[in-house]
Symmetry: C3
Subunit: 429 residues, 3 copies
């Protein structure tokens, strides 16, 4: 059925679990923000009316391509209500902006959407997911059980917020009627009330891509997703590739890029405007923002680099470096434990599984890292921080901190007998 | 004279001074074990009957190409007796498997061997060697003086165990007759008894190659010996050499090897099956086992690498890395003292001269070394160990240990005035 | 006017503020000492009689191309008097050997020099300079005010010692007459006395290059000056440049130099006799002395390297390395503060502005630096010193010292549960 639907793209969250990176929806992929990529996908699927619900911090300039409203009050219910005046059509589709899904889901919604039924999406899971489980009665959704706990799942269908309502009026009536005593559950409480009142909810079963983006290392998951869309090489006319450099696999190289002597590029790879890939560097399966400099002898592998990032003889593996990060010569972002085990990360006091055995560092904006620094796998470094030369960083560092090594020395006269002779070097060619 | 001789290749030792490397006779050179290379040399010289005397740990599968007997009891005398049933000829030649000598020695033995005389080899030395010295009476060996001490040498001929007996029966009679009260001297006591009883022993003077292999750094000496046998390049058909790589000097490259962009190979060099020489790497005068990966920007010089060794932007100089060793980015095996003096090594509580001013690390199997580690010259690292990032290792580490740095930090607010500003980096291209 | 003038080149100072480098006048640039380059410039301007005033330490072999006299007594007055017997002409020109100026100054002097007037040079300054200020009365110099202090400058003309006297006899008479009670001011006292007695002193105004060389980092300023004179490439016949190496910009490469695989050279650049630029190295805007070896994977940028300097996978930025300095693999001379602020240096107990935000290390002769060392920006290392592996050096080190790290380790059994697993490495290609 071809009907006109308003899509509400909810993005009013603070993205605090995405620290030390900036707001997840602003993260740039191949020259566009994650939000704009989401909007682009919706448009490509045929949605014409899209409204973004933002928050006071992000403001209304969050996306330039669609109307944006700043959320009043907390919770998804409040978010939907905030957008009331922007809704131009009767049918609406409510989506979490930070859920990356396949366009197939939206196409299916468009196919089955009609005047007679609400639709919720049930994502078929094999392992427990801490979300809302849909309990079915035939095709009808009987009710929703929130976070039942592992082992108590009432079905194998977890609700993926992609909610179709044939009448926004009905939804708004219920939202206004149900008291918003708990902002976190207000929207789900409303859906439950609608179900109880006899509104028909059908489940759309879905099994394809679903990446609910919460954690900073998921920037790498998104990167892989968008890099996979580069199918063949595009090299801008003003880009200069030195004749001794080598390129294999699909690369997307923007205007003004310079690739210097003996650089090796392996796609899929994206290099933003005016960035320089220095001589003797290796860069592969990565995104590099604009105006960045990958200095001499660097190795950048499966990593996301923002704009104006400066490297110099570094190893950057499975890492995320935000805008304006600079690293001194010889510093290394280690990306594998010695026991090759899974890497964990502490977020808001909780030890979180990353489901990755390869993960480097996650570094906030404007941070400067000195020479010969070692950052251990999975470590997060806040924005505006400084890490001094020789630091071995094993724990997260908050924003706006300086961290330096206290190193003890022995200084003795050079002619001292039986002195320890440590520090061998090489003298041969 | 062309006679049929059984060669007893004594290899019943524990190879304990070869720690942290595995048994010296099992060390692989150009795809074959040291033992098999020794057997090969004997066969090339014309010996057809070769028996290896092994120990309970090594077992009888030690060499697949010749009969192997497990030694019963201790000492060389016991070793010879253990092989009794394997000896098919009257004349026998007793050799220490770990003595590397020139084939010229064996050819000379074959020339002068006959029915009428026993032959011991006298190695002409200029400096003191802690072995048995041969005292001559004309061409006849009068007796043997064990370890006379420096300055008390009775001759300039040290006994190199390559003992020819025209009658194994006579030898066995004496070995059985002389009481084995001291396993270490039983065999020499037997020889002395034979001399006293009137058996004629002639000395064969020898001055060419003799490498009695005891210590782990001698794996490098053996490596040099076998690499020198590569006279011209052999590159297997399935090996892939990138067009930007350069090769000079004789190299032996096995099937499935990949040499990536801008790699520089300098022979003599051996690269085992399916190994990868990563881009921007330098490798020369070295052996690399099979399934190893020399990651980006590594420098491997005069070093022995086993199978499944993983490097990444390392300097490996004059070092031995056993199978399954992995090293993190930027770690360095230093191979020269700052004063460029001789490197010593402690073995079983004794400080041993290595007679080398260039020697890196000696690393046992399955050890993992983190990023930015510095190992000082001559340091030995046991098997199954882990060295954490940033460790400066100056002493040997036993098997099965983890070694980590305790590093002290100062963490202050970034806007603190008059804070130390350490850790300079570079920001230019 | 074309007259015959004797030039007195005063070089009797100890160059102590130039520590840890050797005497500033002996510093080699493009194959010649700074002194010889100064003499060369004077000769090129047309001066035929040049006398160097040296000191007892430097001796008379200081420059082989012109007569050299050893100074007796202290101060510039004593220096001039010491040269009395060497002065062959009536007119003389007194110059500080360590003032680098444009040849235009000398040409102007030659133009206006005559029998009737003394000439002092006034360098037009915009900011305060701690020297002697010239006070004018029309074209005549009325008197000189020494170091008036910032804000009290009596004019904008600072005296640059390039003093012309039509009669050396008159100068010597006054120098002998004025008592040398203060060696530091004796010469200026003499000039003041001459002015008072009615001798006419004219000021020659000058605004071009003036580099009064005092501090070791000024070796880099001199380097830039002399490198800028290389206008086109000169590569000696016996130099060998590998076909995979790349060269851009003007380079001066001496006999016997070898440039190995994948090296990148960016001029202006000078490489002395028989030096080797190792494979995978980057070298630019630098001077390398003779017999030096830039080992594998080094990055040398805007730096001065003496003779017999050995590098190996180092980053050398904005640094000066004296003769016979060697560095171990992975050591870095950091050249930029994390806050990108100005770098200061302590000299004789005083904190001196370097007016540089990019400055690496300044290293004296024969010093050896181990592997993975980090030297912070602006640090000075004395001659004959040793820096052990892993040292983070943040302060100057005197001559003849050894400096080593005291590092604490935790060593535990490998199978210990819940052990910290630090030190991640990479295992992928």
């Amino acid at each position: 059925m071809n009907i006109n639907i308003t899509v509400l793209l909810l993005s009013g969250g603070t993205s605090s679990r995405f620290w030390p990176l900036t707001h997840k929806m602003s993260q740039q992929f191949l020259g566009k923000s994650f939000l704009d990529r989401q909007i682009e996908q919706l448009k490509d699927c045929g949605f014409k009316n899209i409204v973004v619900v933002s928050n006071t911090k992000l403001g209304t300039d969050f996306s330039s391509s669609v109307p944006t409203v700043v959320q009043k009050g907390n919770g998804q219910g409040a978010a939907i209500l905030s957008a009331a005046t922007y809704i131009k059509t009767k049918p609406i589709l409510v989506i979490n902006a930070d859920d990356l899904v396949s366009p197939l889901l939206y196409k299916k919604i468009l196919e089955i959407a009609g005047a007679d039924k609400n639709i919720l999406v049930g994502y078929k899971t094999k392992r427990y997911f801490p979300g809302g489980y849909l309990v079915l009665n035939g095709k009808k959704i009987a009710h929703i059980v929130e976070k039942p706990g592992e082992g108590n799942e009432p079905s194998s269908f977890v609700r993926l917020v992609c909610d179709y309502f044939p009448s926004s009026d009905v939804l708004f009536n219920f939202l206004n009627k149900i008291p918003n005593t708990n902002a976190d559950t207000h929207y789900e409480d409303t859906l439950t009330a609608m179900m109880k009142s006899g509104e028909f909810f059908e489940m759309l079963e879905y099994e394809d891509v679903w990446i609910p983006v919460k954690y900073p290392w998921q920037a790498l998951t998104l990167m892989d997703h968008y890099l996979a869309q580069i199918k063949k090489s595009t090299i801008a006319k003003s880009a200069m590739i030195h004749e001794t450099a080598t390129i294999s696999g699909p690369v997307f190289i923007e205007e003004g890029v310079r690739v210097l002597e003996y650089a090796k590029l392996t796609g899929p790879l994206y290099i933003g405007k005016n960035s320089i890939i220095g001589n003797h560097s290796l860069i592969r399966y990565s995104i590099v923002g604009k105006n960045s400099v990958i200095g001499f002898g660097s190795d950048v592998t499966r990593s996301y680099l923002g704009s104006n990032v400066w490297l110099h003889s570094n190893y950057i593996g499975d890492s995320v470096l935000s805008d304006n990060v600079a690293m001194g010569a010889g510093s290394v972002l280690a990306n594998l434990r010695l026991d090759e085990g899974e890497i964990f990360s502490e977020i808001k006091g909780e030890r979180i599984r990353t489901h990755r055995s390869k993960l480097g560092a996650l570094i906030g904006e404007n941070s400067k890292i000195g020479v010969s620094v070692q950052i251990m796998p999975g470590v997060k470094i806040g924005a505006d921080s400084q890490i001094g030369a020789g630091v071995l960083l094993q724990q997260d560092l908050p924003n706006h901190k300086k961290c330096f090594v206290k190193q003890s020395h022995v200084i003795i006269d050079n002619h001292t007998r039986k002195s320890p002779d440590r520090g061998g070097f090489r003298k041969n060619i």
